[in-house]
């Protein structure tokens, strides 16, 4: 216990030292070598700009707008992608119906949809959400499909012998829980892709607010320290979302998988 604590403490220490070193080097390079705020804002510049966006309240609007876009896209991707993946994976032959459509649409990079997003939805939140949706829906479909395809026959047959016969019940009580690890992995991938699409969509002016939009806006004003603030925020938020999701899923939904090599 004590030794373990010590080790943990030492590791934390190493991490802190490493981080501080990078920050110090960054500051020195910016101050002494580059000496140009446009090319490389220093750490202090960034911190000051950060305090600035907190003070004028822009940060909260931007974060909430971006999260709104993200949520619209992710929820839509989930409620459309999950059933499609389930139908493709469970009903024999159904994948022949969906496969051609998916294989045509999937290779199109999500950002290529931006013009249509603007034509269809205008410069709205829905428009940004749509681009996120396009990026997120395919990983969810495909992972749900694979998860359902790899449901062990033994579980399905055990359920049948116990009187669980109808497709609806077999899906709900056997296939879905069994495929959950794969679906959860799909949602995580989808969130990563969706986050990227979100930034790009906002940059293209699909919306008039949000973290991605602000990067572009400050770039036009040549305020690269602000650009960097928003970059770091995007990275940090993406990390937090992923962590929270994983924590929730592992703790609540996949408790039964403890002891399985991930």
């Amino acid at each position: 216990m004590n030794i373990k604590n010590k080790e943990a403490l030492r590791n934390r220490g190493l991490e802190a030292i490493s981080l501080l070193t990078v920050i110090a080097m960054w500051q020195l390079i910016a101050d002494l070598l580059v000496k140009n705020k446009l090319f490389l804002p220093s750490f202090v510049d960034v911190v000051l700009s950060f305090l600035n966006v907190i003070k004028n309240g822009a940060l909260y609007t931007d974060i909430s707008v971006s999260l709104l876009h993200f949520l619209i896209g992710m929820i839509l991707a989930f409620i459309i992608g999950l059933p499609i993946g389930i139908i493709m994976g469970w009903f024999k032959g159904a994948n022949h119906i969906f496969d051609p459509i998916i294989e045509i649409l999937r290779p199109i990079p999500p950002l290529a949809w931006i013009p249509f997003a603007i034509i269809w939805f205008g410069l709205t939140h829905q428009s940004a959400g749509f681009v996120v949706f396009i990026g997120a829906v395919f990983p969810i479909i495909i992972n749900t499909y694979t998860g359902f395809k790899s449901v062990s026959v033994v579980y399905v047959e055990a359920a049948k012998v116990l009187g669980c016969m109808r497709n609806k019940n077999l899906i709900r009580y056997v296939a879905l829980p069994s495929a959950l690890p794969s679906i959860a992995a799909g949602v995580r991938i989808a969130m990563g892709v969706g986050w990227m699409c979100l930034v790009a969509a906002e940059m293209f002016g699909v919306s008039n607010n949000g973290l991605g939009y602000k990067i572009w806006w400050h770039y036009h004003l040549h305020q690269m320290d602000f650009v960097l603030v928003y970059m770091l925020l995007l990275g940090f938020l993406g990390l937090v979302i992923d962590r929270v999701f994983r924590h929730y899923v592992d703790d609540r939904l996949l408790k039964w998988r403890e002891g399985v090599v991930m």
């Binding site: 033994v154 579980y155 055990a158 009187g163 069994s178 998988r257 403890e258």
Partner: protein, 252 residues
């Protein structure tokens, strides 16, 4: 009631290249209510196939099976099954696994859990009520699987080498427990095994099957009084008899 009539059941599978392979060939057998029948035979002789057909998970190529005069076609809770592989739902706790069949029958959750608790007690695993299957040993898992199969009160219990993966000690204990349950529950048991010792210890009758395609080679009545003594000379004689029959099959 759990009287099974197996008439002229054959099952052929098609290989990848379309060539047929016979798994069961013209199996005819009558199993009385509350009888304990063991099936023994070389690997691949169709024991699992026969059990699956009786469960309703597979359909025979020809022939039919009646349970108390009614033809079997689809699975239902009248025939419980314990599989050769571990088949507990890993995402459900022990108690939820046992209650599953009851819930599927529409029993209210509270009542289902109550009944499940009774069966959990039956197999002596009360303190693992809220554990997940990964937390159990192999023997415990099979105990839970048996409890799960019994909870819906099936008339016939199909057991496919349920103790095959267990060590001899655990195996003996579970055999005793199974006989105890069988005595209390009045259920017909069809039990597949590779072990003549197990067959001689458990069965009223032993069905010895021949190698592919599976046929019934001989049906042996085990008229030994229970509780049986594994080391009694009569037991030994029976074991040797079964051993001889199986050796003949291996030579073919």
């Amino acid at each position: 009631m759990g009287r099974l009539t197996v008439t002229n059941v054959s099952r052929t599978f098609k290989k990848e290249d379309g060539a047929p392979i016979g798994a069961l060939d013209d199996v005819t057998l009558e199993i009385k209510d509350k009888e304990f029948v063991c099936f023994i035979g070389p690997s691949g002789c169709g024991k699992t196939t026969l059990l699956r057909i009786i469960a309703g998970l597979d359909t025979p190529t020809s022939g039919e099976i009646l349970l108390d005069g009614t033809k079997i076609s689809v699975p239902d809770a009248k025939r419980g099954m314990v599989f050769q592989e571990y088949s507990l739902f890993p995402w459900r706790t022990v108690i939820d696994n046992i209650a599953f069949g009851l819930l599927m029958q529409g029993t209210k959750k509270k009542k289902a859990i109550k009944i499940a608790e009774k069966y959990l007690e039956f197999v002596g695993l009360e303190q693992f009520k809220n554990s997940f299957p990964y937390e159990l040993s192999g023997g415990m898992r099979q105990r839970v699987a048996i409890a799960r199969a019994l909870a819906t009160e099936p008339q016939v219990l199909l057991m496919d080498e349920p103790f095959g993966a267990l060590d001899a000690q655990t195996r003996n204990t579970l055999q005793h427990e199974l006989l105890e349950i069988w005595g209390k529950k009045n259920v017909t048991i069809l039990f597949v095994t590779h072990s003549m010792d197990e067959a001689v210890f458990l069965a009223d009758r032993i069905v010895v099957m021949s190698a592919r395609p599976g046929k019934i080679k001989e049906i042996i009545d085990v008229d030994l009084p229970r509780p049986r003594d594994r080391t009694a000379p009569e037991s030994n004689a029976l074991r040797n008899h079964v051993l001889k029959l199986l050796a003949e099959e291996r030579e073919r």
